[in-house]
Subunit: 343 residues, 2 copies
């Protein structure tokens, strides 16, 4: 086409396209479905929807400019289950079994000996030291590429010992819908996990639609190396950063460099992240998830041995944060489960 | 409007809009201007344009899926000048002067005494220790919010001692155009700086269009604190991470979690970042900038005291990386300067 014709087409096309877009926009609300169908109509759902509505209403008091729409989610217990132990530890235990044939000395050494006999309770009786040894034996001394490959192989096939579900099918359906609803409204959704950043990244995009650059987590140190001229990053058996409690705001600040306007957690390890989010100017959304559904998931929100949720719950009550009851608020828990209306 | 009418409008509107968009797309190349007008037509410009063209040509051998379009840029000497010393150190020196009235003891203590007398050479004679003390005295012991405020106040008004320009006006015009061209083609542009992550973030969005979450840099440790109930992050006088040399691929991996497809640097400190980028599968763009323009900027690419550019240049020659000569390839250096065609 000639330049003049192109300019004409361009001008006319733009004008017509704008008219059509306006017509489409006017139609949208009439056909809009419930964006959170797996949540029952309780106060929690209303406060989430109202926050998002206000954040996207230009000129309104709760408006959040698009570049400030940062929402952060804890992972274990907030986006997926975490019983009987957090799933990264289940991965480590499965890895110990997979690697055992090449490591005969493990048969005589704790916590490996107990893990290989299937005695999780005895293996973990060694506390943090036992957990640390299990993690380091399976998470370090390999390249970042090897680690990613192992996590991907595991997550594709491993199944939870009591539900028989794949771990990726133990994510919370109401949270998947919430992530999608936030993104549809211009929010960037981040995971801010106490778990390992590279463990979560290996599957977060496929499962949650959250790309690697939007995952913040704990990490081991890494070292750049040239092996036969090929550059590699080697995972070292040293903790670099613990992204938990007061570490969460530090991790958020380091990775994102902006204060979130919405934060979602389920334990005292998320308290500081919620405080940091709440302390920003303007309207904020702070949500705590309570695990109180023994029938469909686990009820451990009052069990201080497995879930530290005391300080955060007190602060939620004082400050008016939103508390989600999985038993009451969730029409479903896991994807594909039967829908249940509010009790 | 009724639902049925809306559905009809929606279907028709979409169809017409698609036709118009196709017409617009066909027109675009005819009116396309040179996206890099401040670069002279040499091999460097051709290789950059050809890479971007290939990366966005679906089905072609150099196609890069949109989510993989990650381009990383060193900052000091690559996106802006770095003489007589890198500008973050100029900030620290200006801060020493600003803070001096409250710190009478600095008059008797090096490097502060020399800095306050304006004797930069003597102050820096103390080497890394002197630089470290200058940085820690001005960069730590304050909150992240205070630090950001100080950097912003400085960058808004401070001027370079020899050019008289504001530091933000000593960014490289050809690089601003390149950043815009990459972003227009779906690339995410990141800064990967040896400088402080929070120093760069305070102005990177305004100056380069690069948001805080796309800045990777060196950092000090930080601590979460509640002061009178208000959550704060305090910058501690301890190095947390040095994002230089082998640290750059580590920083890239930690922040982005993807291997870049394009990398731009100007010194041996960028070599590992270029190696890491080059070692990925498929076509890559690796660019080294040479400071060889004494008339318009500085010529120090062969001066090993101020610019370590030996190994990276050798590797560029071996591997066919693109080398940009500022004297030859830049039609302009700083924004607003007179355009000069190739010598």
């Amino acid at each position: 086409m000639t330049k003049r014709l192109c300019a004409l087409v361009s001008r006319e096309a733009t004008r017509v396209a704008l008219v059509l877009l306006a017509a489409l926009a006017a139609c949208a609300p009439a056909g809009a479905a419930d964006p959170l169908p797996s949540r029952n109509d309780h106060q929690a759902k209303a406060s989430i929807l109202s926050f998002v509505q206000a954040a996207t209403t230009e000129g309104g008091p709760g408006f959040v400019p698009p570049e400030q729409r940062v929402a952060v989610f804890d992972n274990d217990g907030t986006l997926w289950s975490e019983q009987p132990v957090y799933f990264q530890l289940m991965f480590a235990i499965d890895e110990v079994r997979r690697m055992a044939p090449g490591r005969p000395q493990w048969k005589q050494r704790e916590p490996f000996a107990s893990l290989l006999r299937g005695d999780l309770r005895k293996a973990l009786a060694g506390g943090e030291k036992a957990v640390g040894e299990t993690l380091m034996a399976t998470h370090a001394g390999i390249t970042t590429a090897q680690f990613e490959q192992r996590v991907r192989a595991w997550i594709a096939s491993a199944r939870h010992p009591s539900t028989g579900r794949r771990y990726v099918d133990m994510v919370f359906q109401p949270m998947l819908e919430l992530l999608a609803h936030l993104r549809a409204n211009g929010f960037k959704t981040y995971i801010v996990s106490g778990g390992g950043i590279e463990f979560v990244r290996a599957w977060s995009e496929a499962v949650y639609g959250i790309p690697p650059e939007q995952v913040v987590g704990s990490s081991v140190r890494a070292r750049f190396e040239l092996r036969d001229g090929v550059p590699l990053l080697v995972r070292l058996p040293e903790i670099d950063f613990v992204n938990d409690k007061g570490g969460k705001p530090v991790g958020i600040h380091r990775h994102i460099g902006r204060r979130p306007v919405a934060a979602f957690g389920n334990s005292d390890g998320d308290l500081q992240m919620l405080q940091w989010t709440a302390a920003g100017e303007g309207r904020r959304l702070c949500v705590l998830v309570r695990h109180d559904d023994a029938a469909r998931e686990w009820a451990y929100d009052r069990d201080s041995r497995v879930c530290r949720l005391r300080e955060a719950l007190e602060e939620a009550a004082t400050r008016g944060w939103t508390v989600v009851s999985m038993a009451r608020d969730g029409a479903t828990v896991f994807p594909g489960q039967a829908v249940r209306t509010a009790p």
